[in-house]
């Protein structure tokens, strides 16, 4: 038991996490490619054409996983932020910083693909539906987090300030979601509701789940790659970074 605890904390240091992340990245990329391949095959060939929505519905295989990831990543980011504030570990702040751009891209992707889906289905690029609006605000929260971290020069202060913002944001996300929802229902409701999803064919569901797994693996791989870059940047003054084979050759 005692050993396990020590093992966990061992990887809280950037120095020991850097090679570990390096070893894990190829695996996550490989998994992302495999799941993505299967998922895309189901998306384009195996899944039947929807009798109401035609071929256009196939964009939900990208849209739904992206929307899920945008929400998950914010929560994971806030989790790392809380850990960083509580335990004062450097790596936590770096992880939060590494996750933010991926989350922002996912939020943007979900909005963008949603617009592509909405145009043929609803006849409008955008409706002020509760989910769309709260996804947009989530995107703004990501942008705020990234902007705040970028504006502060001292990385330790940037981490902590970002952590507080992420935590304030994560408390606010449900409040924002419900307020937007009630706002929408008190106005005239949207003519097509996303919540009343038609029962889905099993192949479609499987396709979506496998695509979601592919998105997970991709997000982890990208976040780890980014966190390695952040570690190199911030720890550039240390001896162990200077000893790394990939740094040594460049002659700094």
């Amino acid at each position: 038991m005692n050993n396990k605890i020590i093992n966990w904390f061992k990887y809280a240091s950037p120095q020991s996490f850097y090679p570990l992340a390096g070893k894990m990245i190829p695996w996550f990329w490989a998994l992302a490619a495999i799941f993505g391949g299967i998922g895309l095959w189901i998306t384009f060939f195996a899944a039947p054409t929807d009798f109401q929505q035609g071929e256009g519905y196939r964009i939900i295989f990208i849209h739904v996983p992206a929307a899920w990831m945008s929400m998950f990543i914010y929560i994971v980011m806030a989790g790392w932020a809380a850990l960083g504030l509580a335990l004062n570990t450097r790596l936590s702040g770096m992880m939060a910083q590494a996750l933010a751009p991926t989350g922002a891209i996912m939020a943007f992707l979900s909005l963008w693909t949603g617009a592509f889906w909405g145009k043929p289905m609803w006849g409008a690029w955008w409706v002020w539906d509760a989910r769309l609006t709260s996804a947009l605000i989530l995107f703004f929260l990501y942008i705020g987090f990234i902007a705040l971290q970028a504006a502060i020069d001292d990385p330790r202060r940037a981490d902590k300030a970002g952590a507080i913002l992420a935590l304030v944001g994560v408390v606010n996300v449900p409040i924002i979601y419900f307020s937007v929802k009630w706002w929408n229902t008190l106005h005239q409701g949207a003519s097509v509701s996303l919540t009343k999803a038609p029962t889905m064919a099993a192949t479609m569901l499987w396709g979506m789940l496998i695509m979601a797994l592919a998105f997970w693996m991709y997000s982890i791989a990208v976040a780890l790659t980014r966190v390695r870059a952040i570690i190199l940047e911030r720890e550039a003054h240390t001896e162990w970074v200077k000893e790394l084979p990939e740094v040594k050759g460049t002659g700094q």
Partner: protein
């Protein structure tokens, strides 16, 4: 409690010595509200319908103008560091500062809003609800804004960044605040909206000074 009152008194005194800053935010509010009819057209029915939203959005923006000044002058002359070092808990002093910010920027907006509401042909009852909603909502804006002000203290491009951080968090206040008046006009009754606004205020009174204090300690580290 004495400490809070002392901080409020001090900040109000400072505000009175520099009246132009308070008045700028107030006139900004008046001008923004007056610009909307010019942009949209003088159709009375439409203006009446969007009046609560306009007044609320203008109130959000006007509150934000004052936020950058909430901690920056005290940070510049070292007062803030003395507050951190003082034996009184920093959270109390910060609560006092937020209260003073509300009295100098939020309260004038509340008092001025009915006058501007008349321009939009709101009836007396709707005006009353607008005032109540703003009375509950503007402290909420000051409280949430204080977190953003503390996070961006001494940061490059702090003013613009502040709006980016704070405006998305203002969404619930905007929805329930403007929604209260609209619900009243459409005959649904404003009670639910006002209760939710009060609930948000209660949450913010509890958590926001705490988060602001944490952010200030990081900024002063």
């Amino acid at each position: 409690m004495n400490a809070i009152l002392a901080v409020i008194r001090r900040d109000l005194l400072l505000a009175m010595r520099r009246k132009s800053e308070v008045l700028t935010a107030l006139f900004f509010f008046v001008i923004v509200v007056s610009l909307f009819p010019l942009g949209i057209g003088p159709e009375a029915a439409l203006l009446k319908k969007i009046a609560p939203g306009i007044l609320w959005v203008a109130a959000l923006l006007a509150t934000m103008l004052g936020l950058a000044r909430l901690f920056a002058p005290d940070h510049a002359d070292g007062t803030l560091e003395q507050m951190v070092l003082s034996p009184t808990p920093l959270g109390l002093l910060i609560t006092g500062k937020i209260a003073a910010h509300w009295i100098t920027t939020g309260l004038p907006l509340v008092l001025l809003a009915p006058v501007l509401g008349i321009q939009f042909d709101l009836d007396a009852e709707a005006l009353g609800i607008l005032v109540v909603a703003l009375l509950l909502g503007t402290p909420l804006l000051s409280l949430i804004g204080a977190i953003g002000a503390a996070l961006t203290l001494g940061v490059r491009g702090g003013g613009v960044l502040l709006s980016l951080l704070v405006l998305p968090l203002y969404v619930p206040a905007l929805i329930f605040g403007a929604g209260a008046v609209e619900a009243h006009i459409s005959g649904l009754g404003a009670g639910g909206h006002l209760s939710l606004l009060a609930a948000l205020l209660a949450l913010a009174v509890f958590f926001a000074p705490w988060a602001t204090t944490a952010a200030l300690r990081i900024a002063l580290e």
